[in-house]
Symmetry: C2
Subunit: 489 residues, 2 copies
């Protein structure tokens, strides 16, 4: 009882301190905002470093950081890694950020399976402008190099890939993924990894390993619909947590449900669909929280290498000491979706994952593993990623400009820090599920917002994939889409 | 109530008629057995056709058939398809058939995971004589042709296999599997099939589609351990049904549990591990039963094309009118284990299977599908199967001879009609789990019987894979194994 009281008091004390810090960082943000509005700080100007700001305002490093993050979240400033903070170009952006949804969890859950099926039904339609799916356009992939590597691999292996691999995975690929995961600064070795049939297979197996039917799983909201489907298939319950378009999942809201959930399942870097990069501070705090409550975190980091900044952001896995973070990646978003090559570093759940994999599929096909290992080993993957990132960033600027030009002025638009998804919130009167059919008649495809929740929400939202070759047709189709939206109001 | 009484009476009547038939066929079998023992019928003599026997003994066709099947089950006669029944060479075989186990289901279930892990741990040890695993030796596979096809496929496809396939599967492969499934006489089309990551993935998904956690599933006993693992992973309960080494699962025993189970999961052709080919009559009756009780049957038919007789046996799927049979196959036992290409014709559960597949892995890698489709389309697979079957039958004769020569006289041995598994029942005092370690020291591998049940049984049994190149070392290793067994008694 004394212990309980002690805990309660320390929580109260912490809450008070946090409230105080909150007021402070908002005050500082307000000062800087006024400097920008009064043109004291101008577009492109460099802000004082966080350390200087700390001294200037006589606050803690964290408070200074939070003030800058707040300004960044409102697109008033932007960080350029290894350089500092600058008054942002996007502070002049025309359109606002999407709002953070209030989750109406009293409603009956219903994953929109029919809608998802309908959208997936157009996966093979080559005459569509494919804004819908999370797949990079063919022109972005190094097909000739992959084919060459594949042919060399077939010739080199004496079994032509007909033999079974070890269940954990192709040893060559395990080694190369471990070596190549520099962002973890040597915190994982090849023995910490398991090869999977793409990241979706990693997520499915991770969920299976850390839950039992009936359990609850915290997800972002809007949430990647594949998570909702996997959660439903495994007899689990999704708990949608309000999610900020810049900071990611609301940690205070998460904390409230943590005692009652079996796992978290988040896309922390270049989130699908919101595009945010969860700030390092939030990642650290997230890992602290899940460790405190002993709740595994399944971290989908498939977009992590598609950063627009100067360096690859850290995943939560980097801060994980307890083996509670199951970190997954793949080459499906960057190199070869159809190869179905992914991996997971499942922390202390590794043996369980390997056993599940044995039962579900014995092992992975070996040739693709060898080809990807080869790509990693000889720097070809890094080379490809550099080019790919530049193209994606150029496309992001294009699509942002096009949406600003063609869509109604009250359109709200996400501010992705990487990846290739743009999230739009349209006028409340627009139903993007209806718009999907109308646009389909004009061979234009997008992902309606309703796909991204188990509740009846995001009906006026849509996700656009911009990893497609920027042609006149793409430009025209965005103009058409904008007109369709304007006509529906 | 009247209806209930009527049903009860008709069941009673049927039971009485069945009992009468039973006595009859055993009497006829007895007469023929005496003729063989008295040398009235000699080795190689042809028996009267079933129609002649029907007239001769004045019984129904079915009773005559059952009499012959009974004699066949005791290895006194053998059927040569499209020719008739002959006094069997194996009626002179030295060793008896394995006994049908009484299932001690009062015992606590425990799948021997550690033992299975240990055996799978040697999967990559190339210095072992691999009698353990159900994988054909590399020398039996058409590696050069597969590689050539793979290289051609890479060159032909304009996406090099980087694009996603439709979730249901590669269209080319679906078409070719449907066309090539001649044994079903046109009863399935390409739209009835779903491509899977090998047959194990098909079985896992089939189990998931037709059950919910807590359900019971009927399996053979001894049972392929992969089934037990999948059942356990999905939170299901296995019900082991006594299984005859010639006829397969005991249909009377099955009938008793059918009202309380959610699915059956059987290997009907060239069973793993027993090697039997369930007679057509039993297959028909099995399908009648599951249809009566509306219980789905998951039919693993991966060995069906490896027949020693004149033609490919029918699967239960052939008799299925209600869409209750989920029929699965793959090329893992015949062509390319590492390709992980399998398929399932899931009857009325197709949509559920496709949805599960989307969530678990999105789709299959495409190149392998194309290569296998190519192999099927141009008759290369049939050509390969002809050669492979001949080699397997020669190996079966070799291993049967070797076991007779080197193993103790009280060894009981199965009589496979196809496939490449031999099941041995040794002296009661032998523990094959202990023997496994001793043999391992001599780089000899086999599958201990304990792997094939959730109960503490088959401890004196072992399964030997004979799809390996018959070298002096294999011969010597069997001799060594025989000596180890003799020394353990």
């Amino acid at each position: 009882m004394a212990q309980l009281n002690h805990n309660f008091n320390s929580v109260k004390k912490r809450n008070h301190a946090e409230k105080l810090k909150e007021t402070l960082y908002l005050k500082i943000a307000k000062i800087i905002e006024e400097q920008i509005q009064s043109d004291t700080l101008r577009l492109g100007d460099k802000l004082p470093s966080i350390r200087s700001a700390q001294k200037l305002y006589n606050v803690s490093i964290n408070t200074a950081k939070q003030a800058y993050l707040e300004l960044e979240s409102r697109s008033l400033i932007e960080s350029r890694p290894k350089s500092g903070y600058y008054v942002s170009k996007t502070s002049q952006r025309k359109l606002a950020l999407p709002t953070v949804a209030k989750i109406s969890s009293t409603e009956k859950e219903k994953t929109p399976e029919d809608l998802i099926d309908k959208v997936f039904g157009t996966i093979a339609k080559s005459d569509f402008t494919q804004f819908a799916l999370g797949i990079p356009g063919k022109n972005f992939l190094p097909l000739a190099k992959l084919n060459k590597s594949l042919i060399n691999t077939v010739r080199r292996r004496n079994d032509g890939g007909t033999a079974y691999e070890p269940v954990q995975g192709n040893e060559h690929l395990l080694r190369e993924v471990a070596k190549w995961s520099l962002v973890l600064e040597g915190k994982i070795t090849e023995d910490d990894l398991v090869i999977t049939s793409g990241a979706m297979n990693a997520i499915y197996n991770a969920l299976m390993a850390v839950t039992k039917p009936g359990d609850s799983v915290a997800v972002e909201s809007p949430v990647y619909f594949g998570f909702l489907q996997a959660i439903q298939l495994l007899g689990l319950k999704a708990v949608e947590i309000p999610t900020h378009p810049i900071f990611g999942v609301d940690l205070d809201a998460l904390k409230k449900v943590l005692p009652n959930i079996a796992a978290c399942c988040f896309v922390t870097n270049f989130n699908n669909p919101l595009g945010f990069q969860m700030p390092d501070e939030n990642k650290k705090e997230l890992v602290r929280l899940i460790t405190e409550y002993n709740v595994p975190l399944i971290e989908d980091d498939i977009y992590g290498n598609l950063f627009f900044g100067a360096e690859r952001p850290k995943p939560c896995k980097f801060y994980d000491e307890a083996g509670l973070v199951l970190w997954s990646g793949s080459v499906s978003k960057t190199l070869a979706p159809g190869y179905r090559v992914g991996w997971i570093a499942p922390g202390k759940f590794k043996d369980k994952i390997i056993r599940q994999k044995l039962v579900q599929t014995v092992c992975n096909p070996s040739l693709y593993s060898d080809v990807i290992a080869d790509f990693l080993e000889h720097g070809r993957y890094d080379h490809h990623l550099r080019t790919f990132r530049n193209k994606l960033y150029a496309n992001y600027l294009q699509i942002q400009r096009a949406v600003e030009a063609y869509f109604p002025d009250n359109t709200k638009i996400s501010q992705p820090k990487g990846g290739f998804m743009l999230w739009l919130e349209l006028d409340k009167r627009i139903c993007t599920e209806d718009l999907y059919d109308v646009a389909g008649n004009q061979k234009i495809n997008f992902a309606p917002g309703r796909m991204f929740s188990q509740y009846n929400q995001y009906n006026n939202c849509m996700r656009l994939n911009y990893a497609l070759e920027w042609t006149d047709r793409v430009e025209n189709d965005l103009e058409k889409l904008g007109k369709l939206i304007k006509n529906s109001i």
